[in-house]
């Protein structure tokens, strides 16, 4: 599925300083029953965001109008648990294009890259700086620059480099996906399969 190309993103950010945000919180299993990729943003963080009578929980960050933006900033070990890509879909469909944390669970990180969300891993110290900057000014702007692989707090100019492999970076900047690549090397795959033991 096509996604928006990612180059430089300047946006305010939504803070979620909680560790081990698992994919059951991002999108509970009972909302995984769709056969199409539609409407998952409505149920993003469903049980943290809404009471059981569907009224919004006032103390949850997504219900607080002072916070908004295309960048979600989470605590350590973000996206742990289930492999459900629906978690990344929900984050994308809600409007986020970038998730920042000091540590991501592997499958969530891979799923995000595959659908056009940039996971940015920063040091614990820099993560703390971002949380403090948003706390001081919810409208503070953050720049995520993929070509330069930097994340910057624009108010102070404080910046940090982040890692991403060259192949995935190229894909994200151009909106490519892996299946195009795999289709182009079908001959190699067929030769490999022919020699397989199983």
């Amino acid at each position: 599925m096509a996604y928006d190309k990612f180059t430089v993103l300047r946006s305010t950010a939504v803070p979620m300083p909680i560790e081990n945000v698992d994919t059951d919180q991002i999108i509970p299993a009972r909302f995984l029953k769709a056969t199409e990729r539609k409407g998952f943003g409505d149920n993003l963080f469903r049980d943290w965001r809404y009471n059981s009578d569907d009224t919004p929980k006032k103390d949850f960050v997504l219900n607080n109008p002072i916070y908004s933006g295309k960048i979600l900033v989470g605590g350590k070990n973000f996206g742990s648990g289930s492999s459900r890509e629906h978690a990344a879909w929900a984050i994308y469909d809600y409007g986020f294009r970038c998730v920042v944390s000091s540590f991501f669970a592997d499958i969530f990180k891979g799923n995000s890259l595959n659908i056009g969300i940039l996971p940015v891993t920063v040091s614990e110290a820099f993560l703390d700086k971002i949380f403090k900057a948003i706390e001081a000014d919810p409208k503070t702007a953050v720049e995520v620059n993929l070509p330069e692989q930097t994340i910057t707090l624009l108010a102070t100019g404080e910046s940090e480099k982040f890692d991403i492999n060259g192949y995935k970076k190229h894909n994200l900047m151009n909106g490519y996906d892996d299946i195009d690549y795999l289709q182009a090397m079908k001959g190699d795959i067929e030769s490999f399969a022919a020699a397989s033991l199983y």
């Binding site: 599925m1 300083p17 909680i18 560790e19 081990n20 698992d22 059951d24 919180q25 509970p28 299993a29 009972r30 995984l32 029953k33 769709a34 056969t35 199409e36 990729r37 049980d47 059981s52 605590g75 350590k76 070990n77 742990s80 648990g81 289930s82 492999s83 459900r84 890509e85 629906h86 990344a88 540590f103 991501f104 669970a105 592997d106 499958i107 891979g110 799923n111 595959n114 659908i115 492999n165 060259g166 192949y167 995935k168 996906d177 892996d178 299946i179 690549y181 795999l182 289709q183 090397m185 079908k186 190699d188 795959i189 490999f192 399969a193 397989s196 033991l197 199983y198």
Partner: protein, 470 residues
Amino acid sequence: MSNKPSTLFDKVWDAHVVRSIPDGPDVFFIDRHFIHEVTSPVAFLGIENRGISVLYPQRTFATADHNTPTIHQDQPVKDPLSAKQLAALSSNAEKYGISIWALGSPKNGIVHVVGPENGITLPGMTIVCGDSHTSTHGAFGCIAFGIGTSEVEMVLASQCIMQPKPKKMRIVINGRLGKGVLPKDVALYIISQITASGATGYFCEYAGEVFENMSMEGRMTVCNMSIEMGARGGMIAPDETTFNYVKGRDKAPKGEAWDKALAYWKTLKTDAGATFDKELVFDAADIEPQITYGTNPGLGTGITHSIPKATEVKDGEASYKKSLAYMDFQEGQPLIGKKIDYVFLGSCTNGRIEDFRAFAKVVKGRKKADNITAWLVPGSHIVEAQIKEEGILEILNEAGFQLRQPGCSACLAMNDDKIPAGKYAVSTSNRNFEGRQGPGARTLLASPYVAAAVAVTGVVTDPRELLSEA
């Protein structure tokens, strides 16, 4: 072939790399692909929209499990959304010529139970599925891990995924497990020691006497839980226990093909002198029956211990307090004697025949506690048949328990098997996340022995007390 000592993981990984992309992932060939109704429909839509087909349909196997009811499976599925997903799985399988064990098939069951029991899972394979507990198959010396739906689409289209090679970790446990300690306790113990993210970025090999002496069912339980410490997967070198389990199974090789495969499988072990990025060593004697008290699987402890103080755990204080608040537990509170409402025996972690044998051993000659609602859900119809053949069903019925029909059930509560808000469940499944077993449900993860001890006493109970009486 190089003579450099190599790990089991490297041997299997390197044998499946079709191409290494410079400054990028490996194009990684997949021998077996399992699909189920929840994470596959959008992938099929994807290949349809691209106008391409399934490259190797005979390498993909479908089973319905996540969304299926565990009673009245002969009747139409009532929830229209679940019914639609199940229908999509069946029609996609039919359209592309993929083998399917749909609801009602005698081979139906949880994907990670039916794969091994039918010989679809074989040593040295690469196996993926849109489910994080695919790590289960690592018990056979496979590289097996969960993938997202984009990757399900890649495998359907090309039998490959793009995968950066993870780092390698080895966990060695020598010695003998004490009385009442099951493979689930070994897994929960490791996770409690290294946290729910302690192995993120790694693929783990389990080695040492504890795993060498473990049954295939036990090894599957341990490898299944690898993802709960953040590892992409876990694996155990195949040995005689593995070969004896595989031999004669429906789809296992036979005759000459068996001999050829066996000769290869015997090479699948870590050479002396091979190195890992990280090695951890634990002592079997330190492991007692475990139970979790928090909202991630790393928040567990020996059953006789009290809930630790915030200063004693590696999770941040705010997250830890949030976790205990959800559970309505206090720091320093003892676990033994805590009143429980529900017991769940089942899931891809503990839904195999050995788990039911263990549960039956404890409840035999006793009665279900009045305050307990117990859901006993076999992992497959084959497990269900074994339960009946071995006389376990009579023991369970005699003690006041009923058996449900196979499926993922209350492990993720996608069907009607939901623990009500605020209630406590001792569960043999794999995750105690907030709301995992139903909105507001409070889950304590444990072994089948602990689950059985709770089921007959109504409170958290050390199973060793009941086993010593038997």
